[in-house]
Amino acid sequence: MHASTTQDGAAGRLVTIDAVMQQVAEHKGCGTQGGSGKASCGSAAGQGDLPTEIWEKVKNHPCYSEEAHHHYARMHVAVAPACNIQCNYCNRKYDCANESRPGVVSERLTPEQAARKVLAVASTIPQMTVLGIAGPGDPLANPAKTFKTFELISQTAPDIKLCLSTNGLALPDHVDTIARYNVDHVTITINMVDPEVGAKIYPWVYWNHKRYTGVEAARLLTERQLRGLEMLTERGILCKVNSVMIPGVNDRHLVEVNRAVKSRGAFLHNIMPLISAPEHGTVFGLTGQRGPTAQELKALQDDCEGEMNMMRHCRQCRADAVGLLGEDRSAEFTTEKIMEMEVDYDLEGRQAYQARVEEERVAKVAAKQEELATLAGARSDITLLVAVATKGSGLINEHFGHAKEFQVYELSTAGAKFVGHRRVDLYCQGGFGDEDSLQTVIRAINDCHAVFVAKIGGCPKADLLGAGIEPVDQYAHEFIEKSAIAWFKGYLGKVAAGELVHSPRGDAAIRQGALIVAA
């Protein structure tokens, strides 16, 4: 995971590992999800193949632009506890699995507390540009609280973008309000467009004062989701679609979902793996429904990619997450703390900071283009994956032992493409030498040929080599893509010279269980 970029990452981390573990033991939540997305890196600092008007809206949005998530931060406020449907991958004792990291229950806030928290965070973290409401239930099943929060924030912090995530059931009723509050991004979780499939995912929905079950419930849900999507895109509001990949239930069907949502104007499709274990207490956890492997997930994302932009960097943030994607600084901003904080909302300072970030991004893309040019003309069928330890800004700037996740890039003579991330929380809890957690890391990146780090100790280095993964630390603090391409060039050279035989690697495991970043 990225640690904070503004200050030293270690400073301000207030929660001890013990406290986090304790919390996790108390709240065994339902599934969290891993990554998905288009490596939207092409011309102008990452526009890729997105139309310009959409790029303008998303370029600073960490959840929507893979590129931006290195530089900008988002936060979620948990003001919406109620829900109007039941999902088999959700245990409602905990946060919504659609957009949150179950396992740690969000602190529930009133709209007034939420607005204050947003100001406190935005004043502390100038790259915080996005506020989302995603739960812990469904924001549109709590319309009064959700829209009150938006109203308060748009008055005090007008530069912050507003977004919300919904299961879509109530969406058609609220499209006009969403437009009125200038919400520019809406995420709808759509797991099916066929009610027969839906009946296996949703036991019931509550609509119009009645509980519907089975195929009837799923039909109602899909009709309202798709209508809501159409209504939003007609009004020019950006829509992303999230889907949870459930092997044997909707995995192949998601290609159809992809077509259906694309034709209705969704600009991004984010396919996330089901994460399921009996201790989550979800229906799928209890029936033994498994989640996909890293390879299955990537294959499906690749299949859908021809159709539209995929989003591979989603980390299913908790409903009260704060920070860059993949980090969570929410412990610094508990209700108690924000009530005591002096808040000074410095709009100009924030804008100046963001202008600097823009320069950084342009420099990063230029560096990549330059390196890519040196690869021009090289021909090889080899594609391979590499893992990168980073804490943001597009740099290889994290120690192997401190990484809570690795970003995975696919390398070929076409360049370096971001294809996902792997969570490996808390490998280093105080020096190296914890054999089991090192094995966990190796399993999580087992499909990679190399791992790029800022620094790595001798022991893990030897173990990685033993597992056939090359630890690479010579590009410490350099740009990720540029370095990966340079390394790949060397790799191809060695293969050509016969020094090295290229062989494919196996599959990797998707970490089960809740993310517990805070340390």
Binding site: P81, C83, N84, R92, K93, N142, Y206, H209, K210
Partner: protein, 74 residues
């Protein structure tokens, strides 16, 4: 009779509170409770008790047999 909420099962999601036509439900001590004097079992409003229909935990909003059956006025 009125409905009651089994506190140990309530997730405090608040979904029932907003749906009750009689504003009989409120938060108390971290979970939600039904005021039996206000609850009409949704008679006169809806075909099914709304708290039962919306609650994510089955068998959490249940009939409280210690109260007499609600009689619609007239």
């Amino acid at each position: 009779m009125a409905y009651k909420i089994i506190a140990s099962q309530c997730t405090s999601c608040s979904a029932c509170e907003a749906e009750c036509p009689n504003v009989a439900i409120s938060e108390k001590g971290g979970t939600f409770v039904i005021n039996p004097k206000k609850c009409t079992e949704c008679i006169g409003y809806f075909d099914v008790p709304q708290c039962v229909a919306v609650c994510p935990v089955d068998n959490t909003c249940v009939i409280d047999t210690t109260y007499p059956r609600y009689q619609a006025a007239g």
